[in-house]
């Protein structure tokens, strides 16, 4: 009873937790276009005819797939902060630019998600039958048109399962942002348990909310996959 009061009572923490859950969802959703878009860009650049471009993209992916997500986050956060400090000093000696933690979190997560998803996009691109590309080229489309009009429309359907996996990783990775100064679900639970001294309760509630979010996400993913495959059923 007492623990219920801590959550939904007049001085309960449920409100903070729900707001935190919304921030978590917002973080993940904001990252998606940049992360998946960046991944697609990387995948296209990896097919480039220039060796240097390919090598740079490969290095980027290997680097961010090979180090802990927490480390990428810190590197992007502190790296960007250092750059901003310099930029501020260039403008005027006493200008201090502060990096918004939410923005930093989105940038860092996007970098990681782009690195992860580029592999998914590449395998999706190579899954488009070669004959279609040859047919498009022989019809007089140039490489760019072939990609835009023939390959790209099919990519999403093929890449969907892989992107779904990365999306669930992303949802859980947002919890890392709580180590910066963003009041996401996990940080809300930390605050609540620090004040009430009942970490078991609040971290369990947070875990429950994360579960609900990820189950809802997988239901949604199933819906999208069915929809995308309707024409092929």
């Amino acid at each position: 009873m007492q623990s219920l009061n801590l959550i939904i009572g007049p001085d309960g923490w449920g409100h903070l937790l729900l707001e935190g859950a919304l921030v978590t969802i917002a973080l993940a959703v904001t990252t998606v276009p940049f992360g998946f878009g960046g991944g697609l860009l990387l995948a296209i650049l990896k097919g480039s005819q220039r060796r240097l471009v390919r090598a740079l993209c490969d290095a980027f992916t290997t680097f961010f797939r090979g180090i802990p997500d927490l480390l990428s986050l810190f590197m992007v956060y502190f790296g960007l902060q250092a750059l901003l400090d310099r930029a501020g000093r260039l403008i005027a000696p006493d200008v201090h630019l502060e990096l918004n933690a939410f923005v930093a979190g989105v940038i860092a997560l996007s970098v990681v998600v782009a690195a992860y998803s580029s592999e998914v996009w590449i395998s999706a691109i190579s899954a488009v039958p070669r004959g279609q590309i040859e047919a498009a080229l022989s019809l007089g489309l140039d490489r760019r048109q072939t990609f835009q009009k023939v390959v790209l429309p099919q990519l999403f359907r093929i890449a969907l399962p892989g992107l779904g996996n990365i999306w669930t990783i992303l949802l859980k990775d947002t919890s890392l942002i709580s180590t910066l100064a963003v009041m996401d679900l996990l940080r809300a639970a930390s605050e609540a348990s620090r004040y009430t001294r009942s970490p078991l309760l609040f971290y369990s509630v947070a875990a429950g909310l994360y579960l609900i979010i990820s189950i809802a996400a997988s239901v949604l993913q199933g819906y999208f996959e069915r929809r995308a495959n309707q024409a092929y059923a």
């Binding site: 290997t62 680097f63 797939r65 090979g66 180090i67 802990p68 997500d69 927490l70 480390l71 810190f74 590197m75 502190f78 790296g79 250092a82 190579s126 859980k172 990775d173 947002t174 919890s175 890392l176 709580s178 180590t179 996990l186 639970a189 930390s190 348990s193 001294r197 009942s198 970490p199 078991l200 971290y203 369990s204 947070a206 875990a207 994360y210 579960l211 990820s214 189950i215």
Partner: protein, 262 residues
């Protein structure tokens, strides 16, 4: 030569940093290796019973295993770690009574505990997938030939299941190496923890680069060993898998050639 490098990239590589704090990074690396080794090993042992429970016909057993797996795969590892580390502090008197407090008092053991349960959930799903990938007809055929349960497992199911499981298990090992960095958040001085400590002292960004390089070497080594192991295990399938293998990078291509010619 290092000095030249440093002159070229004064911001990126501060070599003198290694003189002063290199030993710290090494001791952090050892802790990371211990934590990962312990939790992946224990997780592997725990995963098989969970996998069997999940596949069991007993409704209660399979439901319990499903709940376990769903919880640990559906919530962030950091949340699980907090639950263990701070949760243990809350029930300290009870833990002291049963003599477990000595265990949960240490961040080191809390990390191993949480990581073990987490990786056990993932590994059990990998095993389940691998066991399910063995065609049912083969098991029926083995039964019809009069093989015992143990013989079926030993000679029919496992050799094929291992082949399927090697790659995802290796990937799980890689993601555990990466996930172990979370231990730093609950004050454990693993590689990441030492890195944060050095950064908080020096505000020198290059320590993060050194840390990243060490992690990269670890994950890249595991990945290459994994490819070699997989190639060795699947030698008998090589002729038919040639097409697949050839798209997987030059490293494997070289090995394939060697195996085919030698």
């Amino acid at each position: 030569m290092l000095q030249d490098l440093q002159n070229a990239f004064p911001v990126l590589l501060n070599v003198s940093l290694l003189d002063e704090y290199g030993a710290r990074l090494v001791s952090g690396l050892i802790i990371t290796l211990k934590v990962v080794g312990a939790s992946c090993g224990l997780g592997f042992l725990l995963a098989y019973p969970i996998c069997r429970a999940r596949m069991s016909r007993n409704w209660l057993l399979s439901r319990a295993a499903l709940c376990f797996v769903t919880f640990f795969r559906g919530t962030p590892l950091l949340c699980q770690l907090y639950l263990v580390y701070y949760g243990a502090g809350q029930i300290r008197p009870e833990l002291q009574q049963v003599g477990l407090w000595l265990f949960f008092r240490e961040a080191y053991f809390c990390c191993i505990f949480a990581f073990t349960l987490n990786t056990a959930a993932y590994q059990s799903e990998i095993m389940r997938g691998a066991l399910a990938a063995v065609p049912k007809g083969q098991i029926e055929a083995a039964k019809a030939l009069g093989l015992s349960g143990w013989a079926i497992a030993r000679h029919v199911v496992w050799p094929q299941a291992i082949l399927v499981a090697v790659r995802p298990l290796g990937n799980e090992l890689i993601s555990m190496v990466k996930a172990s960095a979370l231990a730093a958040i609950v004050t454990l001085l693993d590689l990441m923890g030492e890195t944060r400590f050095v950064f908080s002292r020096t505000f020198d960004f290059s320590v993060y680069l050194y840390c990243a390089i060490i992690y990269l070497i670890m994950t890249e080594t595991i990945r290459r060993v994994l490819l070699a192991v997989e190639t060795a295990f699947s030698r008998h399938l090589l002729a038919s898998r040639q097409v697949v293998v050839e798209t997987r990078g030059s490293f494997l291509k070289k090995r394939t050639k060697k195996l085919l010619t030698g």
